[in-house]
Amino acid sequence: MASLKELKGRINSVKSTQKITKAKQMVAAAKLRKAQAAAEAARPYAERLGKVMASLASKVSGEGAPKLFAGTGKDQRHLLVVANSDKGLAGAFNSNIVRAALAKAAELKAEGKEVDFYLVGRKGRAPIRRAHPQNIARMFDTTDVREPGYEEAERIVAELMEMYDAGKFDVAHLFYSKFKSALTQEPTRLQIIPVPAPETATASQAAVEYEPDEEEILAELLPRYLKTQVFGALLENQASEQGASMTAMDNATRNAGELINKLTIQYNRSRQAAITTELIEIIAGAEAL
């Protein structure tokens, strides 16, 4: 049985842990609200661009389509872009994304394809490097910015395009976590290159004038569309991270509370036992006189 002093020490240590998890939970809650607002604000642009892309994609087809849209004609080399966060304390957030990516990698390898990784964020590096030490094409560092934003998306897409133009891969998939609610985040895979044609829900009826022509506009808009998708994924990821963090920290705080209660009861019992023993000793002593 642990001594009284030891118990007291443990209670205090759990209490300070609880303070930290509680603070982190509140920070995550505040950040989650911000991240959700950012995701909300980005929606109009993505929607409009998606609509434009859809109406353009239905017009441009066949030989005139840019490489980014039509693909390289091969399906051999795959690039998995895995977006993670830089910080932990977010429950299974990062490991879920990594697991989804590794599962896809295994599947592709079983089909005899080549797989490379492009890692965004710090937390995915260790597990993926362990599983595929030879296949990490590039790591994108986001540690120097507080929140990955559009500029980071631009830089990521610029690097991806460069690699694509150099023929380093044929197909790129993006892995991130889709934000559903603070409680559920879904690891999601999205094919980003070649750009999948958006659903043509609205076949434009009016005769639209294009300036310059459709192909050129499409060629110009494709990288932008790509950036928007990466940006959207980064935002979703941020909201998911904060949501996961909030839930995880809530659990941790509650567990710490339970542990404190248990330890306090144990502490009180041992204290009572000590007092009782002391009393018995005194009484026995007095009786002996």
């Binding site: 661009l49 559009y150 009016a206 639209v208 004038e209 300036e211 110009e220 932008r224």
Partner: protein, 85 residues
Amino acid sequence: MALHFELVTPAKLVRSEEVHMVVVPGTEGDFGVLEGHAPVMSTIRDGAIQVFRTEGAAAENIAVRGGFAEVGENGLTVLAEHVEG
């Protein structure tokens, strides 16, 4: 009489308002958009969009980079990667 003008960046919806006319610096030349303009899609070269709130009013310049303009039945929508100011 009014043209619905929207300026959107990836980060947010910058403007959504009724204006008289907007002059867009298209890649193949500037063009003014009034209400009832025929549908057009055009890329924009980096430069300033001029917004005229009312007829005869002084122009308000909004510098944009990486832009794209779409004129449809709902008015003019400018998608820009960066908006300065």
